[in-house]
């Protein structure tokens, strides 16, 4: 009877390690504080109807960014725990974590930073900026947008769930390669939490990808041909094409792994005719494009930032578009460079090595084009531009390390070493994250109506940059010394100073992050001094700056006509026509996204703990909710021309 109701979930499975109990307590305290405040301030109804059930992409975008920031905090705590263990655990000392805990922590660190931090920030920026840049009022599928966000939240909860409901997290590395991740070697529920957190959030990413592609292709303002789209729109399109191309591979791959684990099948086991090499190929067919999914939108952000703050047209627009498309296509042809050491032979290895090197060509072109954009510009050194220059300083050298490893014979020495770890942190922090910071500071006034404090922003930048080099240069060196990644203990005392230096770098980065939090608080307190009244604080070039800051819920009272690439810049040169208002239709709020995700979450929980009735309930509930939503024909409401005119005139 117990097993029927609770599956494999028993008292013994509840949290009992010191660090899970600590995590549980901290999470309950934080949740308690939030619930207490909401109740005290009577904000529940406001939260529900203004935010949680909203289909407004600007609000969903803000919720994505808040969620990604929370997950960044969790991922950073993991990083600190990894560092502390590695700084202590040499020779006779074995540090403060068991090998098993340590492995769970770095697994969670990797998955959280990729799936829930970087992807979350990106989805947030795309939600807020894309519709504004193409002159649209909404995304193509507002309900799917809400659903995608809530699936992402459900996945994020799953990654943290073992704190509350016990068990463990996967201890297999962020991609959980079999046969280690099979039942024979990882019998615990940690692997199942891993599978379902990725499966659910991956579904959310896929839905978001489809939505963004359709939005870009079908909802651009009249006159905005493909070759008049801002670079950020192009790069987002490329990134989302990759999402739609490869996330199905991820879903199928970990789906097959689940079949192995749940039904005892043999897709990827060592025995019974299974083949683990197939999983390694499949997961990297998703995994390599994934890193380009993260970094291509940042390239788009830099194109906007460099052009705006050089007060000059973007150099080589067509060339940049070609480069972005080239990177997108090549990204799908290089996956094998993640395992040259598997023994595929010289011809296969050389092919994938050369394809990898070729990606450096379009990437280099983009950097050349940004430099040419600055040439003969009038450059204003804002914090957004600082992040771009920081990107140039880090990403190019990270790129050299990457191209170096694309040579199979060199990779045999770097594979799975700390050199590799340093390389991809350079790409993800120096490339994707610096781009996201640049974009967040650039578009912050558009979202909130006031600018971020410049001085604190630049201070934070310098901490991040020095911290970054202090943290990751030692890892490159440790790679040269033959140190592999994921070591909870090592014997060579000569390695310890480098691990300690890396930790100091981590502390410097943490100070940078603290300054960013201070920057946010100070900027909010001094917002009256930094108000963005015109809606165009940077003398911008693209359509998002043509509307108010923050934009009204309908984005544009009148959809703008686009005549050239820098549509708003041209408008500012001429005069703006007198607006003629028309009735507009906007999507209603809906809670169905939350309900569907909640049911999917329950099904996932049932899968993890083998609770059959819960799986049936969760899947049945999710399908029912989708059908109910599909039958609802009143999903939009009308704002009349008269209401629009009165709102526009009141605002201005």
């Amino acid at each position: 009877m117990w097993h029927f109701i609770f599956g494999n979930l028993t008292w013994a499975a509840l949290p009992h390690e010191w660090f899970t109990i600590g995590g549980t307590a901290a999470m309950f305290l934080m949740a308690g504080a939030v619930v207490g405040w909401l109740t005290y301030a009577r904000r529940w109804r406001w939260l529900w109807s203004e935010w949680l059930t909203s289909t407004d992409p600007k609000k969903i975008g803000v919720m994505y960014i808040i969620m990604a920031s929370l997950m960044l905090f969790r991922g950073a705590l993991d990083a600190a725990m990894i560092w502390l263990q590695q700084a202590m655990s040499v020779g006779a000392s074995h540090g403060y974590l068991s090998a098993d805990h340590f492995q769970q922590i770095f697994t969670a660190h990797g998955d959280i930073m990729v799936f829930f931090v970087t992807m979350g920030f990106l989805a947030g920026l795309l939600n807020i900026i894309l519709p504004l840049q193409i002159g649209a009022r909404d995304l193509a599928f507002p309900f799917l947008n809400s659903l995608g966000f809530w699936l992402y939240v459900a996945g994020a909860v799953f990654v943290n769930l073992f704190f509350v409901f016990g068990g463990e997290f996967a201890a297999t590395g962020w991609l959980s390669l079999p046969p280690l991740s099979e039942l024979a070697y990882s019998p615990g529920v940690g692997m199942d939490y891993w599978i379902w957190s990725l499966q659910i959030s991956g579904l959310g990413s896929l839905i978001a990808g489809i939505n963004f592609i359709v939005t870009i292709l079908k909802m651009r303002a009249p006159g905005m041909t493909l070759m008049k789209m801002p670079m950020f729109v192009w790069s987002s399109l490329c990134s989302m094409v990759l999402v739609v191309s490869v996330f199905p591979i991820l879903a199928v791959t970990i789906g097959l792994l689940w079949l192995d684990r749940f039904f005892g099948m043999h897709f990827f086991t060592s025995t019974g005719g299974g083949n683990p090499m197939m999983y390694v190929n499949l997961i990297w067919m998703w995994g390599h494009p994934e890193v380009y999914i993260l970094v291509i939108p940042s390239f788009g952000i830099f194109s906007e930032v460099v052009s705006t703050f050089s007060q000059k047209k973007l150099f080589g627009y067509a060339s940049q578009v070609a480069a972005a498309i080239g990177i997108t296509l090549l990204a799908m042809l290089v996956w094998l460079h993640h395992f040259f050491t598997m023994g595929a032979g010289a011809d296969v290895n050389a092919f994938f090595g050369i394809m990898t090197g070729v990606i450096a060509i379009p990437t280099g072109v983009q950097i050349f084009d940004w430099i040419s954009t600055m040439y003969k510009g009038k450059i204003i050194f804002t914090q957004s531009l600082y992040w771009f220059l920081g990107f140039v300083a880090t990403f190019t050298f990270g790129g050299v390390a990457g191209v170096l490893m694309s040579s199979p014979a060199a990779d045999f020495q770097f594979h799975n070493s700390l050199f590799l770890v340093a390389h991809f942190h350079t790409m993800v922090i120096g490339g994707a994250l610096f781009g996201i910071f640049s974009g967040l500071t650039y578009w912050f006034p558009k979202v909130t109506g006031f600018k971020l404090n410049e001085r604190l922003g630049k201070t934070a930048f310098w901490f991040w940059l020095t911290g970054f080099f202090t943290a990751f240069v030692p890892l490159y060196i440790l790679g040269f010394m033959g140190a592999t990644r994921r070591l909870d203990h090592y014997t060579d005392p000569a390695w310890q100073p480098f691990f300690i230096t890396a930790g100091i770098g981590l502390v410097i980065i943490a100070i940078g992050a603290a300054v960013q939090i201070a920057q946010l608080i100070v900027s909010i307190r001094q917002r009256r001094d930094n108000l963005d009244i015109s809606g165009d604080p940077w003398n911008g070039r693209t359509l998002e700056w043509s509307t108010k800051s923050p934009p009204p819920f309908y984005n544009f009272a009148v959809i703008p006509e686009v005549k050239s690439r820098d549509a708003f810049w041209e408008m500012k040169q001429g005069g703006r026509p007198q607006p003629v208002y028309q009735d507009i239709e906007l999507p209603k709020n809906t809670a169905m996204g939350i309900y569907v995700s909640a049911f999917v979450f329950l099904a996932g929980f049932g899968f993890v703990w083998h609770i059959i009735w819960l799986i049936v309930l969760g899947l049945g509930g999710a399908v029912t909710c989708v059908i109910i939503r599909a039958l609802d024909e009143e999903t939009e409401y009308t704002v009349t021309a008269a209401e629009l005119a009165s709102m526009e005139n009141n605002h201005s």
Partner: protein
């Protein structure tokens, strides 16, 4: 005295191991790494410098700098921006192609001597080395003569692993039911740290071994001593080795179950358990 006592302590720190190669393969890989990096820096350093110089020169406060807000295209520069990286990548591609073929791990090394065959089994969490020609086996340490190629035949009876002796050469995967060949050759005597490079469970970090290169005559002496070892490795004892354990002391086995390596590999090729004898798929022994 147990001849493996001296090996219980790890070899001395190798410093920047990748830049202090002690074998032909590692030397070739080191040279490739250095050449490729220098070639790339030839382009990258000027580009990064240009980025900062141009950003500074065209700062808004500089009244003497030209300002041309509509300059956004130049055919010559565009071709250059595509051509320069393409040229560097072309040169690198030649290096990549040649490196991949010259240093392909399964390619036999040039030598007047035939390779010494060492069969390697990655276990949880220890390394078993079998010398099929000498009929001895060792655990967690491997000894071989200098200046003679060694063919490591890698497999696993455990999660997928990666076999790595940084100072002798790059890695190769050890996978259950499969055999990968890795040729290495030490160019001088010495003790080198080797280990696991692929996460494989709780004992991953401790899964190290010592690789010892000795002179040909010392190797003969060692072999003779190994044959006198009181320990052997019948199948039943091998099965005990497949059980998880960490930090097992090095051991020498004077004999082992006949056909041990093939039996280990073939376990994973068999149909379902109990449906007959596994087919041996490896020729000879």
């Amino acid at each position: 005295m147990d001849q493996t006592d001296a090996l219980r302590t790890a070899p001395a720190s190798a410093g920047l191991a990748l830049f202090q190669p002690k074998g032909v393969v590692a030397t070739g890989e080191r040279n490739l790494i250095v050449t490729a990096v220098l070639l790339m820096l030839l382009l990258v350093v000027p580009v990064v410098a240009a980025a900062f110089i141009i950003a500074y020169k065209f700062r808004a406060g500089n009244q003497r700098a030209a300002y041309d807000p509509n300059w956004d295209h130049n055919k010559f520069l565009q071709s250059l921006w595509w051509g320069l990286p393409a040229l560097v990548i072309l040169c690198l591609s030649v290096l990549t192609w040649r490196g991949a073929h010259d240093l392909e791990p399964s390619k036999p090394l040039q030598s007047s001597l035939p390779p010494l065959v060492v069969q390697v089994v990655a276990l949880r969490w220890k390394w078993l080395f079998i010398y099929p020609e000498q009929k001895v086996a060792t655990l967690n340490f491997v000894e071989f003569p200098e200046n003679r190629p060694v063919r490591f035949e890698l497999t696993a009876d455990a999660p997928m692993n990666s076999f790595w002796i940084p100072q002798l050469g790059g890695q190769m995967y050890a996978m259950a039911g499969m055999v990968n060949n890795l040729y290495l050759m030490a160019s001088q005597t010495g003790e080198f740290t080797g280990g696991a490079a692929e996460i494989n469970g709780r004992g991953f970090s401790s899964m190290k071994f010592t690789a010892k290169a000795v002179t040909a005559s010392d190797f003969s002496v060692w072999l003779a001593a190994a044959k006198q070892s009181p320990r052997g490795l019948p199948w039943s004892d091998y099965l005990k080795l497949t059980q998880p354990s960490e930090n097992d002391p090095p051991a020498v086995y004077s004999w082992y179950e006949p056909g041990l390596y093939n039996k280990i590999v073939a376990q994973f090729m068999a149909p379902a358990a109990g449906s007959g004898e596994p087919q041996l798929i490896m020729p000879g022994m």
